[in-house]
């Protein structure tokens, strides 16, 4: 951690009461994790619509409801994490538009509202003013909801970029990781939800999305792990927490193995064997591992003393 400490200066802090504390802990991890699944499912539903719309039958409502549930988990944990949760309404009445938190809160609210309308239309089978068939309305709205899902999933990267104190969180790396987290967890959730409703070809397609997302996210993490320290001393200091016998080294590697390495291997195995259980296992591991990966990356920059 002390890259500039020289034997000559031998500088040791002997009195400093500012103790670093983790202000964004596992509630924020839950927030990011659930949002990735919620938005990722919408991406995958849209891909399914474009790839093979006949397989949408029986999947529109359950997938959208699952996405809606995860988006609400995301909203609840965001809300619970506020130290003044009953003042949440200030975001809507005193918005500050330079803040990615404000922009995100507005977009996420709109996103969840649209999801609710789509679910309501499908459940009540109401004929819409705009279209004659609920499914036609659903499919048309899905395009706009998918477009909105992009900034909704990315805005947390915007918050991380605005967190000037945390050098580890850089744009555009975090944007790439957010979108990959959504495609990873979305494809995994789709594989699990789709079950027998999906053809082997479609399952294999989502398996490929899962495997490639895992591969790309893993490459980015490893690039930061190996090369991050060469550009900035703060990054080097932070990465010490996940290297060697660092406080979060074990958790970091558990996350990398469970979220990325094992799912990649299992997807490869699935492509050889065609076994659905292997693909389901890859999906479960990816979803569980993503939480760990996100948590470690969230917490480690907060361990560094800033002053």
């Amino acid at each position: 951690m002390v890259h500039e400490t020289l034997a000559a200066t031998n500088a040791v802090v002997t009195l400093d009461v500012a103790i670093p504390d983790i202000f964004w802990g596992w509630y924020v991890t839950m927030n990011m994790w659930a949002k990735s699944i919620g938005t990722g499912l919408v991406f995958m539903l849209f891909l399914l619509l474009k790839k093979n719309s006949s397989e949408m039958n029986g999947l529109r409502t359950p997938v959208m409801i699952t996405s809606f549930i995860f988006m609400n988990i995301f909203l609840i944990f965001t809300w619970l994490d506020l130290h003044q949760m009953w003042r949440m309404w200030h975001i809507f009445f005193y918005p500050h538009w330079t803040s990615a938190i404000t922009v995100g809160a507005w977009m996420a609210t709109l996103f969840v509202g649209l999801e609710f309308v789509m679910i309501a239309v499908m459940i009540r089978k109401e004929k819409c003013l705009l279209t004659k068939q609920p499914t036609a309305f659903f499919d048309k709205t899905l395009f706009w909801v998918t477009l909105l899902a992009i900034p909704v999933t990315l805005y947390t990267a915007g918050i991380m970029a605005e967190a000037t104190a945390r050098e580890l969180w850089q744009m555009p790396t975090e944007s790439a990781q957010m979108i990959l987290a959504a495609t990873l967890s979305g494809s995994a959730a789709m594989i699990l939800l789709g079950g027998s409703k999906l053809s082997d070809e479609t399952k294999s397609f989502f398996g490929s999305v899962l495997g490639l997302s895992a591969l790309m996210a893993f490459i980015i993490y490893m690039s930061e792990y190996i090369f991050g320290a060469m550009k900035a001393e703060e990054v080097a200091a932070i990465l010490h927490y996940v290297k060697g016998d660092g406080e979060y080294a074990t958790m970091f590697w558990i996350g990398q193995w469970v979220a990325y390495i094992l799912p990649m291997l299992l997807v490869a195995l699935y492509r050889v064997s065609g076994s659905n259980s292997i693909l389901s296992l890859a999906a479960i591991l990816a979803i569980a591992g993503l939480w760990v990966v996100k948590h470690v990356w969230l917490v480690i920059p907060q361990l560094l003393p800033l002053s």
Binding site: M1, V2, H3, E4, T5, A7, T9, N10, A11, V12, V13, T14, L15, D16, V17, A18, I19, P20, D21, I22, F23, W24, G25, W26, Y27, V28, L80, D81, L82, H83, Q84, M85, R87, M88, H90, I91, Y94, P95, H96, T98, S99, A100, I101, T102, A105, I159, E162, A163, T164, A165, R166, E233, E234, A237, V299, Q302, L304, P305, L306, S307
Partner: protein, 211 residues
């Protein structure tokens, strides 16, 4: 008007008078600090010396805390101070993540963000910040950076070693130091070892979020 601070570290003797004055003036709760004096011991025995660095909010011109605050609880006022409206704050801790100097804390009593305001309430009544008044050696120099004849501007003109903390962050702090070394200003330039503090095993109230 652009108010700013300068600390002449040649003069500071680490008495912590400013720290206490700030605590009393602003009723800063236990376990939290708006201003603190950090001690760093430098050298190897018997060639050792102790350095003192008063640390407070830098009232950055390009303040990341103001930018990230979703409800404008953190805002600029006309005299350049970055102020906080505690009634507006929702306690999201975005500012805690954004301030590169660790200047913001969540007040354990009000559960809202708080920090040094350069004693904006005293300035409104034409008084100096409490820490400036308390300093027995006048190491804290406070004034208008836009007035070339102010004490702080003259001090900056007359000294060559005027520095700010973490200039690479692009925050453009309005808080300067004269006579600083890396050990004073760079948190990565010194070690933190349990057992080497003047007070060990300090207990603090839990301030953070949900781990």
């Amino acid at each position: 008007m652009q108010l700013g601070f300068l600390v002449d570290l040649h003069l500071c003797m680490g008495c912590k008078g400013c720290e206490i004055a700030c605590k009393v003036e602003n009723e800063v709760p236990l376990s939290t600090w708006r201003l603190r004096v950090k001690y760093v011991d430098v050298g190897t025995y018997p060639e050792t010396k102790r350095t003192f660095t008063p640390l407070r909010c830098n009232h950055c011109e390009n303040a990341p805390c103001e930018r990230i605050c979703p409800v404008s609880a953190l805002h600029y006022i006309d005299n350049g101070i970055v102020n906080i409206d505690k009634e507006r704050c929702i306690g999201c801790a975005g500012c805690v993540m954004a301030c590169p100097y660790g200047a913001i804390y969540i007040d354990p009593e009000t559960q809202t963000a708080d920090k040094c305001t350069y004693c904006a309430h005293r300035i409104a009544s034409s008084m100096m910040p409490a820490c400036v008044v308390a300093c027995p050696v006048e190491a804290n120099i406070f004034g208008d950076l836009e007035d070339p004849t102010s004490n702080i501007s003259t001090y900056i003109q007359q000294h060559t070693d005027v520095q700010v903390r973490k200039p690479e962050k692009g925050t453009n702090p309005h808080h300067y130091y004269v006579g600083a070394s890396q050990a004073h200003l760079n948190p990565l330039a010194s070690r933190r070892e349990e057992g080497y503090n003047l007070f060990n095993k300090i207990t603090t109230l839990p301030l953070g979020g949900h781990h």
